[in-house]
Amino acid sequence: MSCTVRIASPLHSYTAGASRVAGRGATLAEVLGDLERRFPGIRFRMIDEQDRIRPHMRLFINTEEARDLSAPVRGGDTVHVICALSGG
C-alpha cells in the first residue's frame, strides 16, 4: 500500500530537505516503520518509547487526525506530519 507522507518543516533534516516522501504500509505504524528504515531517527521525533504520538506532534491521514498508530492507511492516502511551531 503506497501513500504520500508530508513532513513537517522541523523534520526536514531527516529527509534531506524533502517536504514530501513516499511511504508504504497498511497502518500508520507500518508507514512510520518504513520511514524509519529510510530516514533513521525520524520516528523517534514523532513517537515516544511507549508508541504514543508525542504531544507536540499531530498526525493526520488526509484531513482526519490519527490518534494512535493502528490507524489504517489506504493506497493513495496522504499522511501529514504536523509539528508545533514556535516562531512568530
Binding site: 522541523p10 533534516s13 507536540h56 499531530r58 514556535s86 516562531g87 512568530g88
Partner: protein, 375 residues
C-alpha cells in the same frame, strides 16, 4: 459607538461592504484587541487592524528593534533600531491611524501579570516566538473566556487556528504539551521574510471576522501554509475531553509559568562552564576537551570554536556515537539552552561528565572574544 465624519471618510470602503457597513465598523471601533508579540506575525496583524479601525489595540513585547528584525517585521524601520518594540510599534500605528487608541505593553507576559493585561481586551492575537508564551496565553484566554487567534511560523511553513472558548478546541487540544527547545525558533532555523506577512494578515482577517460577526471563523480547523509549494491545507481538530485546561476535568485552573528553562534548572551530572573557564581548558590544545556545537549548520558556519564538531541538537540522538568517549565533552550553542538539553541527552546515553558552556557563544563573545560574530 457612532462613527465621526472623519471616520466615515477613512473607512468608506468598509462602509460600502454590505457585510460590514456602519454597524460592523462601529463594532470594530468598540473592539479591544491585544497583540502578543510585535514580531513577524504581530507586525502585519497590528498594521491591518489599526488601518481597519480597530478602536483599541494593545501591543505586548519586551524586546527592542534589532536590525535582523527588519527583514520581516514591517511595523518597524531602520530609524527605530534599538527602540522598545512596543513603543516604536505604538508610534507607527498612531501615525497610521490617529482615530484609534494604541497601548504599548513593554513587558514579558508571565503568570503573575497575564490576567491583568488580558482583562482590558476582548480578543487576543498570538504572534509570540516562544511555546511557553503560547501556552500561557492560551490558558489565560480559556480561563478568562477570551477568543484567541494563534499563528506560528518556521522557515517556509506556517500554521493558523482560531480558538473560541466553549465553541471548539483550544491550543492545548491541538498540542497538549511542548517545551521550548523542542522546536527551533526563527532565530535558529531561519524564516522567509514574507511568510509571517501571510500568516499575520490571516490573523487580522480572523479578528475582523470575529469582531464583526461575518463569515465562518477558523474554529476547529487547523490551517497550514507551505510557501514553497504555495499550498494551504486544512485539518479537522476536535476538543479533547482530557485537555488540561478546557477539558472535562481541567488540571490547569490558573495561568502558570513554565518550569525553569533547562539551562537554569539543576541537572545532576552536568558540569557548568563559564566562557572564561572553558578558555582555560582549551590551553594547551592537546589537552582540550572535545567540543560539540549543537547549533544549526548555518549558525556554526558563521563562527565556531576551533576544533568544534557540529551536531545539531535535532540530530544528536542519532549521532551520539560521534561524541569522543573519555574526554568529558563540552556542549555549545548560541546561549546555553540547546546545549543543556544536549548535555542531558548525552548523560542519559552514558556519556561521562558532559559540560555545558553557560551563556553559549554569546557568552564567549561577551567574556572572551568580542570580535567573534555570533549568528
Amino acid at each position: 459607538m457612532t462613527l465621526t465624519a472623519a471616520e466615515r471618510a477613512r473607512y468608506q470602503r468598509h462602509l460600502s461592504l454590505r457585510e460590514i457597513g456602519a454597524a460592523g465598523q462601529e463594532k470594530l471601533k468598540a473592539a479591544r484587541v491585544l497583540i502578543v508579540g510585535a514580531g513577524g506575525l504581530g507586525s502585519p496583524a497590528a498594521l491591518y487592524l489599526a488601518a481597519a479601525g480597530c478602536g483599541t489595540l494593545g501591543l505586548v513585547d519586551f524586546d527592542r528593534v534589532d536590525v535582523s528584525n527588519l527583514q520581516r517585521q514591517v511595523l518597524f524601520d531602520t530609524a527605530g533600531l534599538e527602540q522598545p518594540k512596543a513603543e516604536a510599534g505604538r508610534a507607527r500605528l498612531a501615525a497610521l491611524n490617529p482615530e484609534i487608541r494604541v497601548i504599548a505593553h513593554a513587558l514579558e507576559l508571565k503568570a503573575a501579570n497575564v490576567r491583568a493585561v488580558l482583562a482590558d481586551y476582548d480578543l487576543v492575537i498570538d504572534g509570540s516566538d516562544r511555546l511557553s508564551t503560547r501556552y500561557l496565553v492560551n490558558d489565560a484566554c480559556v480561563l478568562l473566556g477570551r477568543p484567541l487567534i494563534s499563528a506560528a511560523i518556521h522557515r517556509f511553513e506556517g500554521q493558523l487556528m482560531t480558538y473560541v472558548p466553549g465553541r471548539g478546541p483550544c491550543y492545548r487540544c491541538l498540542f497538549p504539551q511542548a517545551a521550548d527547545g523542542v522546536v527551533a525558533n526563527c532565530a535558529e532555523a531561519g524564516v522567509l521574510g514574507v511568510l509571517p506577512g501571510v500568516l499575520g494578515t490571516l490573523e487580522a482577517t480572523e479578528a475582523i471576522k470575529l469582531i464583526t460577526g461575518v463569515g465562518t471563523p477558523l474554529i476547529g480547523r487547523l490551517l497550514t501554509y507551505d510557501a514553497l509549494e504555495l499550498r494551504f491545507q486544512e485539518f479537522r481538530v476536535e476538543r479533547r475531553r482530557d485537555c488540561a485546561v478546557c477539558g472535562d476535568a481541567p488540571t490547569i485552573t490558573e495561568p502558570r509559568d513554565p518550569p525553569r528553562p533547562a539551562a537554569q534548572a539543576p541537572a545532576d551530572g552536568v558540569r557548568r562552564l563559564t566562557a572564561r573557564a572553558l578558555e582555560a581548558l582549551l590551553s594547551p590544545p592537546q589537552q582540550a576537551p572535545p567540543l560539540i556545537d549543537v547549533r544549526e549548520p548555518w549558525e556554526f558556519d558563521t563562527s565556531h570554536l576551533a576544533g568544534a564538531l557540529n551536531i545539531p541538537l535535532g540530530q544528536l540522538p542519532q549521532r551520539l556515537a560521534e561524541i569522543p568517549r573519555g574526554g568529558a565533552p563540552v556542549f555549545i550553542c548560541r546561549s546555553g539552552g540547546r546545549s543543556m538539553r544536549a548535555c542531558q541527552l548525552a548523560l542519559a546515553a552514558g556519556v561521562a561528565s558532559p559540560a555545558n558552556l553557560e551563556g553559549g557563544m554569546l557568552g564567549w563573545a561577551a567574556e572572551v572574544d568580542p570580535t567573534i560574530p555570533v549568528a
